[in-house]
């Protein structure tokens, strides 16, 4: 674990893997909930957790550097199920990258339990991990100028669902009608870091 100061009151804690980042994130949330850590923002990402708005960053940095990272807590939270149709325009390309028939892409994807590693890009957009690394796919060489809301897509080790229409370079494999972000709902975001996710194929897809 390497702790890098960020500006005056933030720290970037770097760990070796995405799993470690998720474990560290869970531990930092636990500390904040019990009152032993004061941070305005705790932002997990691919291999790091950012702590922003700290009272005494230098002291926390020393403490974290000396600390052993506890193992990830047991997965007890309920699973969010996202119904979808595997009808994306890049399904054939993904099948070719994976070296399987198109139907197999849907089967493999729907059998995987995902976890939200981190959020970003847009409110409600979660970077979902869970697919074995042999199923990593590159981004499209030319990004689309408009990806429809509800598109389910793959890039690198991640799966994501576009909360609203935006430009994007991920490989589109399906479509869902689920609403990822609704600020009239509590919580507004369906997916937050740590949420477990399963994709459920809709009948006929």
């Amino acid at each position: 674990m390497k702790v890098r100061p960020v500006g005056e009151d933030a720290l970037l804690v770097e760990v070796a893997s995405g799993d470690e980042a998720q474990a560290l994130h869970a531990e930092l949330l636990r500390r904040r909930a019990e009152g032993s850590l004061s941070a305005r923002e705790i932002v997990p990402a691919a291999r790091t957790v950012l702590l922003d708005g700290l009272d005494s960053p230098a002291r926390l940095a020393a403490e974290l550097t000396a600390a052993d990272l506890p193992p990830a807590p047991p997965r007890t939270r309920e699973v969010v199920e996202i119904p979808l149709r595997y009808d994306g325009p890049d399904l054939a390309d993904v099948a070719a990258y994976w070296g399987v028939p198109e139907r197999e892409v849907a089967r493999i994807h729907a059998e995987t339990e995902f976890r939200v590693a981190f959020c970003g890009f847009a409110p409600g957009f979660g970077y979902l991990t869970g697919l074995p690394s042999r199923y990593d796919v590159p981004r499209r060489a030319t990004p689309r100028t408009a990806v429809p809301a509800g598109s389910v897509a793959l890039a690198g080790p991640y799966t994501g669902v576009y909360p609203r229409s935006s430009p994007g370079g991920w490989q589109l494999i399906g479509t869902t009608d689920i609403v990822l972000w609704d600020h009239a709902r509590v919580p507004a975001a369906l997916l937050s870091p740590g949420t477990r996710v399963r994709f459920v194929p809709e009948a006929g897809s």
Partner: protein, 289 residues
């Protein structure tokens, strides 16, 4: 006309509703947002008797014009500009009573970029995650103003200040940004770090509420390849592949994959919000306190 609302007559290049923003939601991909020149927004609220953090209007370069439907006290600060009510000049940087139905015109910036219009009672659009701020990156909060928009106003809670004019900093003729290096300064060559801290940059015309873009020497990386996405803070100086530093402002993305060479002190960012394109920029290294 007694309803507490205002009609937008001239929206200007970019006029948004801003308050203190919505910090605390970065883990959901929600930028903090909020007024770029916080001290100016605080000042107009004080002048009209609003609590700190009441929603105000933030204009960009060419002001805006609005017609309140009830009598309000207004104040304009930030970018220096000509302010008129029904065509008659009124003071800038001081509380002014605008009668119901009168036209308040906030003219183009004579110096600076963003003017703030405080109105007694504040803009009372529905808050999203505790804030009324327009967030241009993710589209939260009210859309930027358009001609004909009608915005609700809140009830005044306090008396306006008794001042003729409030002192305010002038916009910078040279933008000096104090930075602490890191967290990814090790991704750059020593020459790049030296250039960053000693060579002149200029404010680019393509900046926005997301970031202040700069023009100047391109910073060469010592490490290539991809940085896995990581959390970003306000004031982060991110260096995209073209090598030109971008200073992240209020609507910045919450995670990003380009290395951050340094972070600008928060106290220096209001001046960045008022620096016109072409303003010389110097990044000056300071020790962490």
């Amino acid at each position: 006309m007694t309803d507490r609302a205002l009609a937008v007559v001239r929206a200007g290049a970019l006029t948004t509703v801003q308050d203190l923003g919505r910090p605390g939601h970065a883990h959901l991909g929600v930028p903090r947002s909020g007024a770029l020149d916080g001290p100016a927004a605080d000042l107009v609220n004080r002048l009209v008797g609003n609590p700190r953090g009441t929603a105000v209007l933030e204009t960009t370069l060419n002001g805006c014009a609005v017609r309140p439907r009830s009598t309000v006290v207004i104040a304009v600060a930030g970018a220096h500009c000509r302010v008129t009510v029904d065509g008659r000049p009124v003071p800038w940087g001081a509380p002014v009573r605008v009668p119901a139905g009168a036209l308040l015109d906030v003219g183009p910036a004579l110096s600076g970029v963003r003017a703030y219009v405080g109105l007694s009672g504040g803009i009372a659009v529905e808050p999203v995650l505790g804030s009324r701020s327009t967030d241009l990156l993710s589209g939260l909060g009210p859309a930027p103003l358009t001609d004909g928009t009608v915005l609700p106003l809140g009830r005044p809670t306090g008396a306006h200040a008794r001042v003729d004019v409030a002192p305010q900093p002038a916009p910078p003729s040279e933008l000096v940004l104090r930075v602490t290096l890191g967290p990814r300064d090790d991704w750059f060559t020593p020459e790049a770090i030296r250039a960053f801290l000693s060579r002149p940059y200029r404010v680019s015309a393509s900046g926005n509420r997301i970031g202040l873009r700069t023009e100047g020497p391109a910073l060469e990386r010592a490490r290539h390849g991809e940085l896995p996405s990581e959390g970003m803070v306000l004031g982060a100086v991110q260096v995209p592949p073209d090598g030109r530093p971008v200073v992240f402002l209020a609507d910045h993305p919450t995670t990003g994959g380009y290395p951050v060479i340094a972070v600008v002190r928060a106290a220096d960012l209001p001046a960045a919000a008022q620096a016109v394109p072409g303003t010389p920029v110097r990044f000056v290294a300071v020790r962490r306190r």
